[in-house]
Symmetry: C2
Subunit: 331 residues, 2 copies
């Protein structure tokens, strides 16, 4: 199953704007390990509620990552919300665990829980669930909600929502980017959001350590047929100080090579496992191999984690990919 | 002088659609060393004229680069146009030299010459000149012209024009990307243009040799204050086979490092000169140093070519940049 096969537009439940208008003190929660859409949607909705004259508490169990510190209001996001609430809204998360402790604390409250999300895997765990899997970002849905609430768009809302759209579409480059994504981004720019700033701050940055890691991994590139692959060892991660970022996006760089139909990066982990990141050019599919090896993903981007040494896992995955590409080529 | 200071919207001369409607056989010429906007604008306008039932000849003195071979109609572009024409249109070029031999041949013809371009340096060398320097791409202007010609947008026109907008804005990432760029891209997608395909084909690709070059240049990275720099020697270009691409975009990779305010790549040329590519994070300006060293550019992207050895040029440029950044910091 690929994500695209099960996508479905869902109209906003009219009770959502109505409950927000009635609420006196709302708690809005976004997911752990927050990305640009998590933070952008949270702050965008927060600014909209402020424009309505409402008090809301914005919560995330994890700190706001540095790349999103340029967003207005990020200092007001709390990790442990206090007090009582008459409305709870969970954003950009498929399941309650992903919303962390703020959501778990709120579960006991006698307050309606609204879930707004765009992931196909969403469990519909709220009292009211609005899950639009055709939205490229939850921020697109918040844009629609802001319209429904009759809040005039302002530059603070716009900047935060644009961050969500831009990061979840990797700058309008993912295949789920729609004309709606672009139309919303147009209106957010017209309201004063700075696309160049969002791109530079939230998208185009990486630690210097990642560039040093690429500098060690690129000379190790090898071609096997039309598969371009490389390896990131534990030692390379230790020497460069790249610990939690896996390959630092290297596999996306590799798949940009004209000569490659498919790219793979093998990242050695601490626990005698190897993380396998795979990418395919349009027209090729790496999700089948990932699925057959216990992982998952989309045709163009998939991955898995396999027990074994680097050499063992390399041979296993490259052979499976070669076989799969042969079948895809119709031979 | 930076480009932004002299930008100016220019309304389309109404004689342009009128001359096109009257023409029986138009010659459309785009610039040498064509990029995605040159080819996309040329083909987009060609498809629009075809929709009007007109015969036109599309010309470019250089072959269409491989990344644009996915565009419909690219095979019909000729290098040496033959026959006679009653209208000549030059696209995306500041001066007649840049339009190469097809334009020079047409200069003797008794036919009106129209120039459509978005570069601030345009010399207004046509009989009618439409130079809109607020357009991020000439393709945005062709979009407007297609509207003025009352040609219904079709998927062929749309795909070609989207290629122009996407490549000239590097996927909506350059600072000259406007809400209009996004609004036009929205309508082109709605007409059936495939944004993901355009991005993958025209933007996200590079020769494997470029990745090998990066693999040699990244380990040579050095920090000087907040300036991150590296070097591409003649030998590195020879070993990897990257000849005409300079640094293959390496300086854009370097400036993405969190730790850098400014990035520089020194590329050794054959003629005892060194090409200096500079990039700056928003809030910093490298154009002043480039100008003072005989080059030019924008605050965020500038460059120059300096006579001397790598070591001499490195010292000269890095010292000048350090001094300039000190002044910019208000010290």
């Amino acid at each position: 199953m690929t994500q695209d096969q099960s996508k479905k537009t869902e109209i906003m439940d009219p009770r959502i704007p109505s409950l927000i208008e009635k609420a006196e003190r709302a708690l809005i929660v976004t997911h752990i390990s927050p990305d640009g859409d998590a933070i952008g949607s949270l702050l965008g909705l927060g600014w909209a509620l402020r424009a309505l004259g409402k008090h809301s508490v914005l919560a995330c169990a994890d700190p706001v990552p540095q790349p999103f510190h340029f967003l207005p209001g990020h200092q007001e996001i709390v990790r442990e919300p206090e007090g009582t609430f008459d409305l709870v809204i969970g954003l950009d998360a498929s399941d309650p665990q992903r919303l962390g402790s703020p959501w778990q604390q709120a579960e006991g409250l006698d307050a309606p829980k609204i879930v707004i999300d765009h992931h196909v895997t969403n469990l519909h765990f709220g009292d009211i669930n609005w899950v639009d899997t055709t939205a490229a970002a939850t921020a697109e849905m918040i844009y629609e909600l802001v319209q429904a609430l009759d809040v005039p768009m302002n530059v603070d809302i716009a900047q935060c929502l644009l961050c969500g759209v831009v990061t979840d579409t990797r700058g309008f480059r993912t295949s789920n980017t729609t004309p709606r994504s672009l139309a919303i981004a147009t209106r957010l720019m017209e309201a004063g959001a700075d696309l160049n700033l969002v791109t530079e701050q939230a998208l185009n940055r990486k630690p210097l350590a990642v560039l040093r890691l690429w500098g060690m991994a690129l000379p190790r590139m090898q071609m096997r047929g039309r598969i371009l692959w490389s390896t990131v060892t534990r030692q390379m991660r230790e020497e460069t100080g790249v610990n939690d970022n896996g390959d630092g996006g290297l596999v996306n760089v590799l798949v940009s090579a004209n000569e490659a139909d498919v790219a793979v990066v093998f990242t050695e982990r601490e626990d005698n496992r190897v993380e396998v990141g795979m990418r395919a050019k349009p027209g090729f599919d790496v999700s089948q191999v990932a699925l057959s090896l216990g992982g998952g993903g989309h045709p163009q981007a998939a991955g898995c984690v396999i027990k074994g040494s680097l050499e063992e896992v390399q041979e296993l995955v490259l052979s499976a990919l070669e076989e799969s590409l042969r079948r895809q080529g119709g031979e």
